[in-house]
């Protein structure tokens, strides 16, 4: 195998929870050496989050949330609140190309690890701070997780049924979105450094990165003073455009999207050219859009007679965009993802966690593909390797630091 794309890069990772770790995982999967810093005093909070294997005692070693986000990373424990802690972290920073952190504002400064301090000892570092709101503006000190960003960005306001309040969204879109934006910023800064020799500080506001991916909503107000609201699965101009119930119970749903008259004709033929579809009120795109409530009900009468993959197969053969709306169970079983070798099995010493399937690499690179090289680390699992082998510290010294609870 040839080298991985980012082999040779070292990233020091102060990332916590989701945004930071997702970012560094993307780099680690593609070959970067990521050194993750935690401590038993301040463990990454996701070590306390589910899922845990059924029947096993929930603990910091077997959180599925942690193992999912932290594969391929080296785990080091430094108690930054001890007098020696920040200095040890600085030693790791010195051998790194880039640093990432997503602490609350001011935390890195408290430990003397803010950009100004780091730059003095390592001017070429690429320092990426993933903040909630940025370092200026009225909300700079507000606490915020990725889930709340959905509400602030206008996304929640436009999610859900029109007759109901904004739908609560129980996932943290803001985190992976910010993570990918940060990955781009860091790599382009490294590319820039190759050319100019210069390091730099990059600040990311998670709120801004999320708003950046909702341009239609923003532009409609800028251009026309239209304030968009909730409209279920309706589209700007496509109709039908919804998710329809299929035969076989609650796991059976299919999404169908029709853009052109040609696709509409194909859909009608696929449904057996029913009489209702010939009605004037469905004759063109605009009228279908206006009458889509009735249209949806009619199409639902057809889809509910078939299984979700059956509908998908019939419609795709006819040239109509359709695909099951899959549950997590549906995904694990999906033939396409399995055919492409998307899922990876990762081993783990905890017996209930052995050989579980995880999602795989984010994309396929032809010559320098990423790899899943090892599972997420236990706390401090790589202390000896990082301090001994990479930094050349004598084992006795490492043992002393462990004893004194600096490497905690």
């Amino acid at each position: 195998m040839e080298q991985m794309a980012l082999e040779g890069l070292t990233i020091v990772d102060f990332g916590q929870a989701w945004a930071g770790p997702h970012f560094s995982r993307t780099l680690a999967d593609m070959g970067a050496r990521v050194i993750k810093i935690e401590s038993r005093r301040q463990m990454d909070s996701v070590r306390g989050l589910p899922p845990w294997p059924t029947g096993s005692k929930p603990g910091p070693l077997n959180s599925g949330y942690y193992t999912w986000l932290n594969r391929n990373k080296l785990g080091v424990t430094i108690d930054l609140s001890t007098p020696q802690g920040p200095g040890l972290a600085m030693e790791i920073i010195k051998i790194s190309d880039a640093l990432v952190e997503n602490f609350s504002r001011g935390v890195m400064g408290k430990y003397g690890l803010d950009y100004a301090s780091v730059q003095k000892v390592h001017p070429k570092i690429i320092y990426v701070a993933m903040t909630a709101f940025g370092s200026e503006g009225p909300y700079k000190n507000y606490v915020m997780y990725g889930r709340n960003q959905i509400y602030l960005s206008g996304l929640a306001h436009t999610t859900g049924h029109p007759e109901r309040p904004p739908h609560p969204i129980n996932f943290s879109w803001g985190d992976p979105v910010a993570a990918q934006h940060a990955a781009f910023a860091m790599l382009s800064a490294l590319y820039y450094r190759n050319r100019t020799g210069k390091g730099q500080y990059i600040e990311l506001s998670q709120w801004e990165s999320l708003i950046g991916i909702t341009p239609e909503n923003i532009l409609d107000y800028t251009l026309n003073r239209n304030v968009r609201s909730r409209r279920g699965n309706r589209h700007d101009y496509m109709a039908p455009h919804n998710t329809y119930r299929c035969a076989g119970g609650d796991v059976e749903w299919v999404g169908i999207a029709v853009e052109t008259d040609e696709e509409w004709q194909s859909l009608c033929e696929a449904m057996g050219s029913p009489e209702w579809a010939k009605d004037e009120k469905f004759a063109d795109g605009f009228r279908r859009w206006q009458n889509q409530e009735e249209l949806d009900a009619r199409i639902g009468e057809w889809t509910v007679q078939h299984r979700k993959y059956e509908v998908t197969d019939i419609l795709q053969k006819a040239g109509v965009a359709a695909f099951p709306t899959l549950s997590n169970r549906g995904l694990v079983e999906d033939p396409h993802l399995n055919a492409r070798g998307f899922f990876v099995e990762i081993d783990h010493p905890e017996p209930e966690m052995k050989n579980r399937k995880y999602d795989g690499l984010l994309w396929k690179m032809s010559k320098t593909p990423g790899q899943i090289r090892h599972r997420a680390p236990y706390p401090g699992e790589h202390n000896n390797y990082v301090f001994g082998e990479l930094l050349g510290m004598p084992q006795k010294e490492i043992d002393r630091l462990v004893e004194e609870k600096v490497l905690l």
């Binding site: 049924h161 709120w207 532009l219 033939p335």
Partner: protein, 405 residues
Amino acid sequence: MNEQALSGVKVLDLTWHIAGPYCAKYLADSGAEVIKVERPGTGDPARKMGPFYKDDPHPEKSGLFLHLNTNKRGVTLNLKSPAGKKIFLELVKRADIVLESFRPHVMPSLGLNYEELEKINPRLVMTSLSSFGQSGPYREYKASDMVIYGMGGSMFWTGIAAREPVRLGGTVVSYQVGVMAAVATTFALFGAEKRGYGEYIDISAYEATRASIDRNGTDLLAYQYSGDYDKRSASYARSFPTGVYPCKDGYFDLTGGTVVFFPRTAKMLGRPELAKDPRYGTGEAQIDVNRKQEFDAEIFYPWILERTRREAWQAAQKAHILSGPIFNAKDVQEDDHYKGRNYWQEVDHPVTGKLRYTGAPYRSDEMPWGIRRPAPLLGEHNEEIYGELGYSKEDLAKLREGGVL
């Protein structure tokens, strides 16, 4: 302006709709020189997609197109004609990156797959964005943003139990895939510079959605552990007060429940004694639906309904409770925080005049992000770019007549 991150990097952008053009915009806004190649006559279908300037559906007034194509120069080219293909290959020789988002059979059928392009430019990085990837049984399937979102897992459990799954607002999946393609492309570019040869990237919206969009990853494990699948529910939390609540001027989201956060909530309400109240403050009470209803009706609604979103937010932040107002597009654009950070970008355009767009996704003093030019008119830079290749005005007139440009 300082030199930008990707100054000097040359990109050929064959993509259309949203995801691919956003990937190219991402590179362009960071300094890359992007040539957008559109088909003659109609151009990128995004020119027909709204919102339009003054709601006027005109191919040079699509706000969506204008936003997605800032900083690019635009040419028209018919890749199916032999002359068009020849010109394209000349452009490939000078490029660092080719981006395309056709269905998987298209580039090979034109003889323009990576194996061919690599022969004339070994350093080339080529990224293909598609709905399902370049291999596997669904590779030629059609999809839309909603359809792709539905594949990924999180749509299935968004919505209320009795109704259909609902998508997120907007077309966020396409944008996220675009950003990820930009990340992948930059990774490959970085590697190509080091090793001296490029490579090919296959990015599938299905997998990108699956593996990055949300808690899909942990859901996958949860299913393997429990054998059960996630269900839709109007509320995401059993503790209280957690969720979306109405307030004086709209809606407000709060994570104020569980034994960790409830004491803070009690303090915020000015009633710290509630934290120790067995009716509300204990772990058991916190997951009791009847207690939740009682607490909401008697204590929480009277408090929240008297407050605006911003008042509630200030109070919650003071108490260190995760929370936020539910903003619409107007709220976001009128918000002082963005204004204070100079987030919004005004860009002038020959047809629409100055319009306001979203701004920098990251900030750096050393390596600025910026809009240098508006989106191109259809074929605006044909003479400039083909002129650089040595084509005269007469040559171009002939090519135009022949339907090549």
